[in-house]
Symmetry: C2
Subunit: 538 residues, 2 copies
């Protein structure tokens, strides 16, 4: 047995409370080792004399490891436990002291694993509507222009032509509202909109006023009407919280520019010196963009200001979630305070971070609910586009991703193939429709909430920004081609199959065939042709 492979940690994705009574435990071994593993558990104050046993199940494998899981509902929620690992004749115990040939239960208070108590305020509660959510991401300026009465003088890109970084095509909120019947027919029940607030850019990630919808996109009333119409169709609306940075045009930064250290907003930013120098950029920014100064989210006044925004759009406009831009550079402290306020306003408001990397430190139940799952994107690219993974490697990788976080988090992950910040997946796979469609099958059948980027349903191509932000082609969309029809079928399944709402999944390879099972649904992808089938088992 490879001892170095064995891993467990309480109060982590390896040991956590699912609800007020139920614990989920995981333990890891080397892939080449398949011992029988039993958890020996009991209550904190009588474990020395009373022990229960439950055998664990080998549920996931990746390239290097096997993962065993078990669910426990003990009488006493002050859970104490050790693992018994049996390989052939050999039996060893695994506790905080590591592996040992014997285990002295009378000394368990020193070295057993424990989850000391389930406190309600620490529980990561699921956002229920995310269990069957089928997301559609809209880059607002490029989706559809619904309002032809507005001042259109800013529009400089004829619909259908290729955008550059300074293009404005005229898409707006009325346009989205008018296309709700279309989206509903496709099976969409959740929208994620890139920023909609007052800003001079087409992407609006440099916000000037967080309380006002940008006039290019419409009015606050247009947004209220959009949310109301969406809700009437059971479509949820998630919008973009750009709380890492702001436009240098915002009133607070302008005040600092004018008054320097005397400004009451001086400490709202992180300025190295007594005055702002926009040439030398002597203040913290998003990337190296001097026009996007970073908020000092360690300042309680800034925290309160941003949180007021977050609560305002929930209470006044009934949004269903916030997607958090550049959330990895904002403090954990802020996100905790943010979560408390947001969940107090609406416990069913989803909080989705933009962390491209392993975000485990943000996903303990005290900050986000989930993230944009770019690690999933990368796994799909490695298999379908880069030839970096074969069918078996792809299965291993997806299992590994599931083991990075709790099942609670996995079930709320925003899984995606591409976005406004990447090449389009269809372009990455050389415009191969079999690859795109098989990847979509994985997307919809994997654990979590699938999110497609507008135009995916018509296999819109596009390389990196600005090319991935082309205008939507409505003629093609109305034609409802093969990809469109596949997505319609997949959203149907996602919404109606209970097996797709649980976290249960079995992912493996048979020879060169990738297999993913949920309940009695089985997806198979041929590793040579990249074509797929979805069948009922038995």
């Amino acid at each position: 047995m490879i001892e170095q492979a064995i891993y467990h940690k309480p109060e982590s994705e390896y040991g956590y409370a699912v609800d007020g009574r139920t614990f989920c435990l995981r333990i890891r071994t080397a892939r080449e080792d398949r011992p029988k593993i039993t958890v020996i558990y009991g209550g904190k104050y009588d474990f020395w004399e009373t022990q229960f046993r439950k055998e664990m199940t080998l549920s996931y494998c990746d390239r290097l490891y096997n993962y065993y899981t078990v669910e426990l509902r003990p009488e006493d929620i002050r859970l104490v436990y050790v693992f018994e690992i049996q390989q052939g004749e050999e039996v060893v115990y695994f506790s905080e002291d590591g592996l040992s040939d014997t285990y002295d239960f009378t000394l368990n208070f020193y070295n057993a694993f424990q989850i000391a108590y389930i406190n309600d305020s620490d529980l990561h509660k699921s956002v229920h509507w995310m269990q069957d959510a089928c997301f559609y991401q809209i880059f607002v300026d490029r989706f559809f222009q619904g309002d032809h009465t507005k001042d259109s003088s800013y529009i400089n890109l004829p619909w259908g032509q290729r955008p550059n970084p300074k293009s404005f095509a005229g898409g707006d909120l009325q346009g989205i509202r008018k296309k709700l019947p279309y989206l509903q027919e496709l099976g969409i029940n959740a929208l994620y909109l890139t920023p909609i607030f007052k800003s001079i850019s087409n992407h609006k990630y440099d916000i000037q006023d967080y309380f006002t919808v940008d006039a290019m996109f419409g009015s606050n009333e247009d947004f209220a009407a959009l949310v109301e119409a969406a809700h009437a169709r059971n479509i949820r609306v998630v919008i973009d919280a750009v709380f890492n940075h702001v436009s240098d045009q915002c009133s607070q930064f302008q005040d600092v520019l004018m008054k320097g250290k005397k400004s009451r907003y001086f400490d709202w930013f992180i300025i190295h010196g007594d005055e702002v120098d926009q040439q030398k950029i002597n203040y913290e920014c998003f990337s190296a963009c001097n026009y996007m100064p970073k908020w000092n989210t360690s300042n309680p006044e800034v925290q309160d200001f941003l949180i007021r925004i977050a609560v305002y759009w929930i209470q006044e406009y009934h949004i269903d979630g916030w997607r958090l831009d550049v959330s990895d550079e904002v403090s954990h402290f802020f996100w905790r305070k943010f979560r408390q306020a947001v969940k107090a306003a609406n416990p069913e408001c989803a909080i989705i971070g933009e962390n491209w990397h392993n975000a485990n430190a943000y996903l303990q139940g005290d900050q986000y609910d989930s993230i944009m799952n770019y690690a999933f994107t990368k796994a799909c690219l490695d298999f379908f586009a880069f030839n970096a993974l074969d069918a078996s490697g792809f299965a291993d990788k997806l299992n590994e991703l599931l083991m990075r976080n709790t099942d609670t988090v996995n079930n709320m992950m925003l899984n995606l193939l591409d976005s406004h910040d990447t090449h389009r997946f269809f372009t990455q796979v050389g415009e191969n429709k079999d690859k795109l469609e098989s990847a979509l099958a994985v997307l919809y059948l994997f654990v979590g909430a699938p999110c497609i980027y507008y135009g995916t349903e018509i296999a819109l191509p596009g390389s990196y920004d600005p090319d991935c932000r082309r205008t939507m082609d409505w003629e093609q969309a109305e034609a409802q081609g093969s990809t469109w029809k596949l997505i319609q079928k997949l959203t149907e399944r996602k919404k109606n199959e209970p097996a797709l709402h649980s976290h249960q999944v079995k992912i493996y390879a048979e020879g060169n065939t990738f297999c993913l099972e949920r309940g009695d649904i089985c997806l198979r992808i041929d590793g040579s042709t990249y074509t797929h089938t979805i069948e009922r088992l038995r």
Copy 2:
């Protein structure tokens, strides 16, 4: 190379910010592998084109693993990195995607490790006075009676006789104050007192009134005088926060007993039903003790009440720290709120949890500063008392303990050999003075704050509670025997040697000799005789 052994995780004890500019990184390999490891790092937005390199140092070994460390002070604090691992001719890279033969830096935004930004509000800041703290734990009733004018009718244990669970010996706060010169001579510069608030028991872990010192121990004024006198001698005072549970005699629980669901305090406890049944114990308690109902710390009113207590004793009586009783059963949510209030009142107030097990989830900088390090206790018992570890196993175990948390936390750990909740260490080692004294040498030279339990300096014996709570023997204490003199030397070193204030340490075995080096100080313990030497290197 054993691939399964390789481990790293950003934003954990393997990768964290030490201050606003400095990162500490660790990576783990199998003990049998000693590759050359280089961290390749850069800024989040230009890592694809600009990379820096720094070789890592093999700093710690335990039974199964080697741990390499490095400190980085990059220009851009949005740190991105991968590891290059070279074993013989073989070079591999380690990223979030695991091991690979090549690494594509242009795709680093998907799978490099990162610590996205250092936000001041997330930094775990050191409590400076803990760096040279030498703690002394006092079980107040058994230390010294200073007030002979008080109503002594409750005293039922003649000083020097063995206590039972209901014994009262008369120790009090005036007694501690009178013994400050004694403690100062011993070298003590920090006290940890078990609870002092109004309560009917001798231990006072069942508190009736958190704002009033128990009359057996004195008055609030006596406490103020003690703190003032201690501070005048540069001795800090840490007291016990029993915030998990309370006495059933407290006014809130009494109100619930009387009015049931109509009590405004009903939700201050966790009651299963409409009325309290103290026979059936239909409410959550400490252990199964019906007279110690558990606070519902998920209730914001309870949070505010308890935090008001925490702040009161800091602001009004200038305590230097809180030791948190049964802290593992209280919510993370509560401890975060508690930390914010406590650190706002005094950033140098230490927060020390009573978690007997790995408390990593509480030690991220948002909750406690440290814990009572019972894993250290267990390691010492395994080596000195239980014969479960030899010199090399003891060295491995201590290294492993250091790798459980950040250096910031390690440097504030409350290390102890015993307490009011264990057998006395001297009894555990069969009253062998060589063992006790060698263990004390480890205690004072290990990373963290040493804490001795009153009477250790006179090698007071005692098995489990109540025997470990015998009255202090002042005749012996004044005699200043060998153990007393050793502690005096060790406190002297701890306070005056800068090497003992850093987290740097080298722990290993040479044959059957345990070795611990800090700066040019070297402790050696013979694994057969358990005698020790402390020498200057070179």
